[in-house]
């Protein structure tokens, strides 16, 4: 039985390029880190999210000077004013760093170019934390400028009443917020759900905990062991006792490390579509 098909392909015999090409070098972590960092800035929404850190710091500082009692303004007032927008923006950055891969379906490309999801997520986490630290430096820098301007207007000496240890605590408090956002992002892999989750944990639960504490004495005494915010908020303005540090560690384990571990496990096993 003969076929009448024209064997056009018969001439292609020996392939000129063979499988003996040397394998490329393994992708170094640095490169993944660099790419993930770029991905946090290169969309319009990402860019404005980052820009909003600076913009919000400036607005908060200006408002403090314009609306506050200038005679009483110290660095602490500015740090407080600048910190409040940070506590909203930074965790959202943490959430979106993870969830945008799913909501925009870029995970398809990301995880085929780097099939090690752990590496990618590690890079994202590291970037998130670095951005958090840098943002806090920027925010407090803007606050410091505000403090100088305000004292120049009133003609008094600027009051620098934040110790470097307190500064470190404020950064830590914000990093914990970002970690919580990141963990919720991994857990839900859905931007709206993770954002709602973050605000519920951060802004609704303290009220509930307070209400519960009012009704239950046991909770009032022991909430510090279960309520992440109770000790985290202390970081902003006081020195923590040994017990409070332990409580902070325990609640972070409960509210951040545990969801992070569960979320990581889910992401590593999930199907990317």
């Amino acid at each position: 039985m003969t076929t009448t098909t024209l064997t056009r392909d018969a001439t292609h015999v020996a392939p000129s390029r063979t499988d003996v090409r040397p394998a490329p070098a393994r992708i170094p972590f640095r490169r993944v880190l660099n790419v993930e960092l770029r991905k946090m800035f290169d969309t319009r929404s990402g860019f404005w999210l980052m820009a909003s850190i600076v913009i919000a710091s400036v607005i908060a500082t200006v408002l403090t000077i314009v609306l506050g009692d200038r005679e009483d303004l110290t660095f602490d007032s500015f740090a407080g004013a600048v910190g409040s927008p940070m506590s909203v923006v930074l965790p959202i950055i943490g959430v979106l760093a993870v969830t945008s891969e799913w909501s925009q379906r870029t995970a398809l490309t990301t995880f085929t170019l780097v099939p090690h999801r752990r590496t990618v997520l590690g890079a994202k986490l590291l970037n998130t934390l670095v951005i958090g630290a840098v943002s806090m430096l920027v925010a407090l820098g803007v606050g410091a400028v505000g403090n100088l301007v305000s004292s120049a207007i009133t003609g008094t000496d600027p009051v620098w009443d934040i110790a470097s240890s307190t500064f470190a605590q404020i950064v830590l408090a914000n990093e914990l917020g970002m970690l919580l956002g990141f963990a919720l992002g991994l857990l839900f892999r859905n931007s709206p759900a993770a954002i709602v989750g973050y605000f519920v944990v951060n802004l609704v639960l303290p009220g509930l905990s307070g209400a519960l504490g009012a009704a239950q004495e046991w909770w009032a005494d022991n909430a510090g062991w279960f309520d992440l915010n109770q000790t985290r908020f202390l970081l902003f303005d006081s020195n923590l006792t040994g017990q409070e540090w332990t409580q902070l560690g325990f609640t972070s384990l409960l509210w951040i490390i545990l969801p992070l571990a569960i979320g990581l496990r889910l992401v590593l096993r999930s199907e990317v579509k």
């Binding site: 039985m1 003969t2 009448t4 098909t5 394998a23 490329p24 379906r105 490309t109 085929t112 170019l113």
Partner: protein, 307 residues
């Protein structure tokens, strides 16, 4: 080189991929053909590690995809051209991929030119891209690392006729240079034109595979008259296995001259007589995947197909 060995994947009780094995070889274009929902995309997702297999193995260039040190440099993948961040520009998407693979930035411009995206188009955000432009960008991402293997899921989707021609030439050239190409399609014609080897999948199972020539060889001759049934009867009487299909057409498993002589001998006027190349593969596609076809195909009767 891609080797798929007894791959299975179930969702609950539903077997999306059921014991699939095949090999896509270097220097050849392998067409992965099947109706919608046959399991093509799931197989490809398992191939590149996006979906964990239920059982079985996939090796690309002799390794599991996860073990490739820098996958983009060895395997170009395009699964869904729309799965890109709508807020990034086309150039940015290629830049990110180039950075991941550790390639120089100049490679991005080369590739934009290769996939015919103008600088103006490349600086637009993907949200404003047509499906065809996204497809070109996706093919650009796949080719960026100068890979040895291409895995493309429905790459012709959304391309205009000129684009389809362009892609066909591109894949042909890639294979001729010794590369391995695996592309899926639910369009028979597309696969028929471009593929050297064909793997047909239906309901998660492989229903046929081989070189295009092998798969076409059995198809024989298509002969048409006003009364297909009478013609088929006459040919069968002459010792030729033949069955009527539609519109008076008959598929006969014999060479052209013999079929013509048999029809002439039976005194039946023939309106068309040709090698059943295309018709054969179409017949095969429709019959082999008849169970999994979503649309009820009225023009072939399943009884005939089974014969």
């Amino acid at each position: 080189m891609i080797t798929v060995e007894s791959l299975s994947k179930s969702y609950g009780g539903f077997k999306a991929v059921d014991d699939v094995s095949f090999t896509a070889r270097p220097g050849r274009v392998t067409g992965f053909l099947g109706p919608n929902g046959a399991g093509k995309s799931t197989t490809m997702r398992v191939m590149v590690g996006l979906t964990a297999p239920g059982s079985g193995d996939v090796h690309v260039l002799g390794r599991r995809f996860k073990d490739l040190p820098d996958p983009g440099r060895e395997v170009g993948v395009l699964l869904d051209a729309s799965a890109q961040h709508a807020g990034r520009t086309g150039r940015e998407i290629l830049t990110i991929a180039a950075l991941t693979m550790g390639l120089p930035r100049t490679r991005v411009d080369e590739m934009l030119e290769r996939v015919s995206l103008t600088p103006d188009e490349a600086s637009r955000r993907v949200r404003n891209y047509s499906l065809g432009m996204r497809q070109r960008l996706g093919i650009g991402t796949a080719l960026l690392g100068n890979p040895q293997v291409l895995i493309l899921d429905e790459p012709a989707n959304g391309l205009d006729p000129a684009g389809i021609r362009w892609m066909r030439d591109l894949l042909r050239g890639f294979a001729d240079d010794g590369g391995t190409v695996l592309l899926s399609s639910h369009l028979l014609h597309e696969i028929e034109v471009i593929a050297d080897d064909i793997v047909v999948i239906g309901n998660g199972r492989i229903v046929a595979q081989g070189t295009k020539d092998e798969l076409l060889a059995g198809a024989g001759t298509l002969v048409r008259s006003t009364d297909g049934v009478a013609l088929a009867t006459a040919l069968n009487a002459a010792g030729i296995t033949a069955r009527p299909t539609s519109g008076g057409a008959v598929l006969a498993e014999a060479e052209l001259a013999r079929v013509g002589q048999a029809a002439f001998a039976a005194g039946i006027p023939v309106t068309e007589l040709r090698a059943a190349e295309g018709a054969g593969l179409e017949e095969m596609f429709l019959s082999l995947t008849a169970d999994s076809q979503r649309e009820v195909t009225s023009h072939t009767d399943p009884e005939g197909a089974a014969a």
